[in-house]
């Protein structure tokens, strides 16, 4: 088990250009499931690859388990990584794929079988060990990649979008399995994803990245309920947070907090005209255009039931005051709540 720490970590691919990773400071907790979340190009994979030792930082330090790791090769860092493509060795059987790190470690051959069997049984793939990777389904490949990663009991696990190659149905069950798996082995894990649902569901903490910089680091609840800027506010949540510009201030509220006025006692009123509504089974998404103070601004509401609403008609909606988040109009950073005229 190990704590990972980065200090002012920066990676610049082309001189004179903005870095892929800029000045990142982070520190994991012991045995934590830490998620790097960001859109594509946000630098999350580069950050992970620097921690793995596959990419050399331009400046800054990486500490793994209290040791400065900058000059260490991937092999010396004693980490395990699962690649987005799984990177299984196509010419080796599943057994030899899983045994490969043991061989590389120089472990005695007599111990291989026991370890491989342990890893394979942990992931329920004992019956596949004779097969070649090309004979496996996507989900099975993912498990082989995980088994190969845990077989030498690494101090740190790095997972680079391991679910993105699976279809939607399999992804949900694989996510559940990964969570259970992490609970069982308890190794510090860094998980890279662009999927906010995965991040929310799996992460002990989430590190939100954009354009190579850390926007926020916190528990899923913190980043969802108390976003530090408008990027985090709109990147997490689907549909994203509604943002309304008001003088030099941006007001934000989540779709699930924009409710019919009769359900909200002493809320801020937002009368809106319904433009469109979508039925999603368990919930409705109502798209509306505000009238009054914020005339014409489009907002989204998420409701348990919206069957009675008619497209084109105007209804009274409202938001409870504590559910309003305020951001500075210039910096887009979070600011104190301010009294303002709502009408």
């Amino acid at each position: 088990m190990a704590i990972v720490e980065t200090r002012n970590l920066t990676k610049v691919f082309k001189e004179g250009q903005l870095g892929a990773v800029n000045d990142v400071n982070l520190k994991s907790n012991e045995g934590e499931f830490l998620v790097f979340l960001g859109p594509s190009g946000s630098g999350k994979t580069t950050l992970l690859r620097m921690i793995a030792g596959l990419e050399q930082p331009t400046s800054g330090e990486i500490w793994i388990g209290g040791v400065l790791a900058n000059a260490l090769s991937p092999r010396e860092r004693r980490i395990a990584m699962v690649f987005q493509s799984y990177a299984l060795y196509p010419h080796l059987s599943v057994y030899n794929n899983i045994a490969f790190p043991l061989k590389a470690q120089g472990l005695r051959k007599s111990e291989h079988r026991k370890k491989v069997e342990w890893a394979a049984s942990l992931l329920g793939i004992e019956h596949l060990v004779e097969r070649k990777p090309r004979e496996l389904s996507g989900g099975e490949r993912q498990r082989v990649a995980l088994a190969r990663a845990i077989v030498r009991e690494p101090t740190l696990f790095l997972l680079d979008e391991p679910l993105s190659n699976l279809d939607a149905k399999l992804r949900a069950s694989a996510r559940e399995e990964l969570e259970q798996f992490h609970r069982r082995i308890g190794t510090t894990t860094i998980y890279v994803t662009h999927d906010q649902v995965e991040a929310m569901a799996m992460g002990d903490r989430i590190l939100v990245l954009n354009q190579g910089g850390v926007r926020q680091i916190g528990t899923p609840k913190e980043v969802y309920d108390e976003p530090t800027d408008t990027f985090v506010a709109t990147f997490l949540g689907s549909p994203p947070m509604n943002l309304l510009e008001n003088d030099n201030l941006i007001v934000g509220f989540r779709p699930e907090h924009l409710l019919p006025a009769e359900l909200v006692s002493s809320g801020i009123p937002f009368p809106l005209r319904v433009i469109n509504k979508e039925y999603l089974g368990a919930e409705w998404i109502v798209y509306g255009s505000l009238t009054g103070r914020f005339e014409g601004k489009e907002v989204v509401s998420r409701l348990g039931s919206a069957a009675s609403y008619e497209v084109g008609a105007t209804y009274d909606f409202a938001v409870r005051e504590p559910d309003l988040k305020f951001f500075d109009g210039n910096t887009e950073k979070r600011t104190q709540a301010k009294a303002m005229a709502w009408q």
């Binding site: 793995a52 030792g53 596959l54 090769s73 991937p74 092999r75 980490i79 395990a80 990584m81 690649f83 987005q84 493509s85 990177a87 060795y89 196509p90 010419h91 490969f100 790190p101 061989k103 590389a104 470690q105 090309r134 190969r148 030498r152």
Partner: protein, 315 residues
């Protein structure tokens, strides 16, 4: 003008595809028409000479002789008894196997080196290709001078370094063992680029993730090379080897220009022997019989090539 015809053609196509039967008919006709040049070419330049060689090898035909006398396998019998032929047969195998081993090792190293990014890589790749793209006659004549008994630059360097004594320098093309070695090395030099380019293509086809996964799994350079990179390149290495065997076993350019098979047939290979006795010596029947001995090996190699190509397609 070309634009007009292009437009005309483009306009023609939809019309032809209008009726379903028309499409199939046109396509069939088109397919045969496009195959025809290749088939004619193969028949005229390979099939016909091969057929002639088969017929000649069973006769006593010579340059300028009239009429055809069937004499059965007499040519093969006499060829098999000739010491020159036995020597050439052995030499052919030595020449092919040695140069292929050297090419394989050399091109593996070269392709690994040229895959890495470094300043001037494009230029080095260009230099590396030169032996293959330059006409072999020019290259071999250059080598003939390099290995010359009087003016050899190698000997000049060895002399200057006091590694050999004056007037006792090695005769690179004059002593049987050295001559064979020289021929093998020059042929290796010539084939190296071709093999390197093939292996380089194979190397670039390995996803970047795989060696990275091996690095994270704790494998060093040699383990990654021998357990991951080379096994993954094997199908393409097969292709390079099989092509190399064909190019070497049937080749006589280097031997012809450097040594003419000498001294005392010590570098004579089957193709050069067939050429000397059949074309230069005028005994067409014997030349044909000698070259018939190339067929079995080439058939085996061709079969292996088709098999490995098919397998590479499946995986």
């Amino acid at each position: 003008m070309s634009r007009g015809t292009l437009e005309k053609r483009a306009g023609l196509r939809p019309k032809q595809e209008a009726g379903p039967s028309g499409v199939v008919g046109t396509k069939r006709w088109l397919a045969s028409a496009m195959f025809l040049p290749a088939i004619l070419y193969i028949f005229a330049l390979i099939g016909l000479p091969f057929l002639l060689a088969c017929i000649y090898s069973l006769s006593d035909i010579k340059v300028g002789s009239v009429g055809y006398h069937f004499i059965g396998l007499a040519n093969f019998r006499s060829v098999l008894e000739s010491p020159s032929f036995r020597r050439s047969l052995g030499n052919s195998f030595i020449f092919t196997i040695s140069s292929q081993i050297l090419v394989l090792v050399g091109s593996t190293i070269l392709s690994l080196a040229l895959k890495e990014r470094f300043r001037g890589r494009g230029f080095v790749r260009f230099l590396m290709l030169l032996p293959w793209v330059a006409p072999i006659s020019l290259g071999a004549i250059g080598w003939k001078w390099i290995l010359d008994s009087l003016y050899s630059v190698i000997n000049w360097v060895l002399l200057a370094m006091h590694l050999v004594r004056p007037f006792d320098t090695p005769m690179w093309l004059g002593e049987p063992r050295l001559a064979m070695m020289s021929v093998i090395l020059v042929h290796t030099w010539r084939l190296l680029p071709f093999s390197t380019v093939i292996l380089l293509a194979g190397l670039t086809a390995i996803p970047k993730d795989i060696p990275e996964a091996a690095a994270v799994d704790g494998a060093g350079f040699w383990r990654t090379l021998f357990q991951i990179t080379i096994p993954m390149m094997l199908p393409i290495v097969n292709v390079a080897i099989l092509f190399g065997i064909i190019f070497t076993f049937t080749d006589m350019t280097v031997v012809y220009i450097l040594t003419r098979g000498g001294p005392y047939d010590s570098t004579q290979v089957l193709p050069s022997l067939a050429f000397f006795s059949g074309i230069l010596g005028g005994d067409l029947a014997e030349g044909a019989a000698i070259s018939m001995f190339l067929v079995p090996l080439l058939v085996i190699v061709a079969w292996a090539m088709l098999r490995s190509a098919h397998r590479a397609e499946v995986t």
